[in-house]
Amino acid sequence: MVRDEDRTVITMSNDFQGDVKDFAMVIPVPTILEREQINVAQQSLIDHLDAYTAPRLVEYFDEDPCMVRRMLKMEMADSMIAPTAAMNEAQELGVTIEASYNVGEYDILILAAEQSDGLVQWLTDNGYQLPQGAQAVVGSYLKQGMKFFVAKVNIEQQQSLGYTSLRPLQVAFESPKFMLPIRLGTLNANGKQDLFVFALTRTGRVETSNYRTVRLPTDIDLPVFIKDRFNDFYKDMFHQQVEKHDGKAVFLEYAWDMAWCDPCAADPLSVAQLRDLGVYWVNSDQSLRSPAVDVFATRLHVRYDAETFPDDLKFIETGDRTNFQGRYVMRHPWGGSANCAAAEKYYSSVEKRQHENAARLIKLTGWDKATVESMMGASLSVPPSDEKWWRKLWRE
């Protein structure tokens, strides 16, 4: 989602599961869109943005306690994809087809209607299956002056273009409404669904104005075995956080100036990529590979259903340019041999920190204590201590 004053470009990427010929998208839009306001983007853009803003696991290796040096490596993780779809149904009239376009592999209609029953009926008649309760929601949007953007896949076009997956659709419009309509999407979902909002703005971080935006816990030291289980860790931690806030908060996962990153989970997007996403203010004269200026990226993660998020998501752009990232740290203990007075102290500090990290992990994820301990056991690289308690008692 790109937003600057009233100008908005939304790129919608969907993780639709199933046969693409059954796919359709019904989205309320604030204005009637002309052909030039609609585009199809490459999925790689969203994938790159996802990777760039993803929570990261940072790996450090302890130096030889008898020496000094450090090394750094990182890894990123997590899945993504924004839903917000609505399935279909229709008959009767009062429906105006404001426009009909073929864009890439999609057939697109812009619909306006006097009454929701007319529109719902028309959609049903035309083979769209709308979920139960859609009429009331459609009616509400129509009364608020919204139009409907309806897209389905043109299979022949898709085959001739040679794409197998659904590419993201883009729309550009001008409207004071800085929002995402999520209400239709809650009707046909199985339980809660996840939505990732990547906002690219000029001034600063984006947050919701009608829901609380909360920062995820970050900069946390974790046991080293988490390396192979980072996705599980992140999923479970997110789940715990959602529960902690009664399912009613939006989570900030990343907020950073697009010109750089530290540590980088993926390179910042190039000027060319940003322009493809709709960031119209980046200078096209500028070398397309150089870092962009005046672009601030925000990644929000929402897990929602109709009960916890009854109203659409409304956003504001703040003036906050403070950087934020989900960053989790593994510190590998020194694995070499160490025979000095400092080593003794070092190993006892390692043991202490490993237990603290385990406790932290249990608290954040709700994982079972015994399981964590058994996983810990495998990764404990501290020589077992057979030191007697009295040995330190009168030592100088």
């Binding site: 929701s116 009331a136 009616g139 509400s140 009364k143 608020q144 004071p176 409404k177 800085f178 929002m179 001034t203 600063g204 947050e207 919701t208 104005s209 009608n210 829901y211 609380r212 935006t213 909360v214 920062r215 806030h245 009613k248 908060a249 109709a306 009960e307 009854p310 109203d311 409304k314 504001i316 752009e317 703040t318 003036g319 906050d320 340019r321 403070t322």
Partner: protein, 277 residues
């Protein structure tokens, strides 16, 4: 009678602490200190007294203003206090000082913003907030304007929801907003900017609610009540809204001259002693 401002300061402090440590309000300690110190110093320089009033304005700013800049934080506090000194109609302020400062600073500088979502949907806690607010307001005798505003606003939001065919949950979500409650019970009730008689105050509350609804649903602007209050302030500062009825005058005098009355009694006591002597 105890000074209602003590209650106000107490409740606002409670909100600041609750907001910062439970809800994670996004302000740094240095920003809070900058706001409070600037407000107190400016108040001392311009008025030489009434530090409690400056403290109330600055606590409202700490609750509602978001910025990373200490300079902007201080500037907002200064604007609030300066507006009391120079933007006035007779003895009344044209603008509620913190509302005015919030609107000016967020419009003029991208580095300052409002965070209406920070309270989250609050359910029961909203009612408690409202209860605490009500206590403060009734002590300050301006509960009429708060109720007029809140009832009008709530009826329109509920009515709009019914007209749209929306589930009640949406209207309730829109009403269960801490920012709205703080506005209704702490900002619009400022005795220096509310009209003189109960009838006029009800009119004022209704007018602010109507304009707020237009701004919110017609212009899609968040924090609409705040903008509505500031936009309508010059109108309600006109002398016609501040002609006090005789009853009201007496009532107000008895409140605002409490300390004088106490002093008077003491003086009387001294006189009695002297006469006896």
């Amino acid at each position: 009678m105890a000074d209602p401002r003590h209650y106000q300061i107490g409740v606002l402090c409670l909100f600041v602490v609750f907001g910062r440590f439970w809800l994670g309000f996004d302000f740094s300690l240095s920003v809070a200190v900058a706001i409070i110190c600037t407000a107190l110093v400016t108040q001392q320089l311009l008025f030489g007294a009434q530090l409690k009033s400056a403290l109330i304005s600055s606590l409202s700013l700490v609750l509602l203003l978001r910025t990373d800049s200490i300079l902007l934080a201080g500037l907002a506090a200064a604007i609030a206090i300066v507006s009391k000194r120079y933007l006035r109609m007779g003895k009344h302020h044209i603008f509620n000082p913190s509302a005015f400062a919030l609107v000016v600073i967020t419009f003029a500088f991208p580095g300052a913003w409002l965070a209406p979502g920070q309270w989250g949907p609050m359910g029961l806690s909203v009612l408690m907030l409202a209860g605490a607010g009500l206590l403060v307001v009734s002590r300050a005798q301006r509960v009429d304007v708060a109720l007029a505003f809140f009832v009008t606003y709530a009826l329109i939001v509920l009515g709009r929801g019914i007209w749209l065919g929306d589930p009640l949950a949406i209207a309730m979500h829109q009403l269960q907003n801490g920012a709205l409650i703080v506005f209704a019970f702490f900002m619009i009730t400022d005795p220096k900017t509310t009209a003189a008689t109960p009838e006029l105050r009800v009119l004022q509350g209704v007018a602010v609610a109507l304009l707020a609804v237009i701004i919110q649903f017609g212009f899609y602007q968040h924090s609409a009540p705040l903008f509505s209050l500031v936009l309508l302030a010059p109108l309600f500062a006109l002398p016609m809204f501040h002609k006090e009825s005789t009853d009201e005058k007496n009532n107000l005098r008895s409140v605002s001259t409490d300390s004088v009355a106490v002093f008077g009694q003491r003086a009387g006591f001294l006189r009695v002693l002297r006469r006896q002597g």
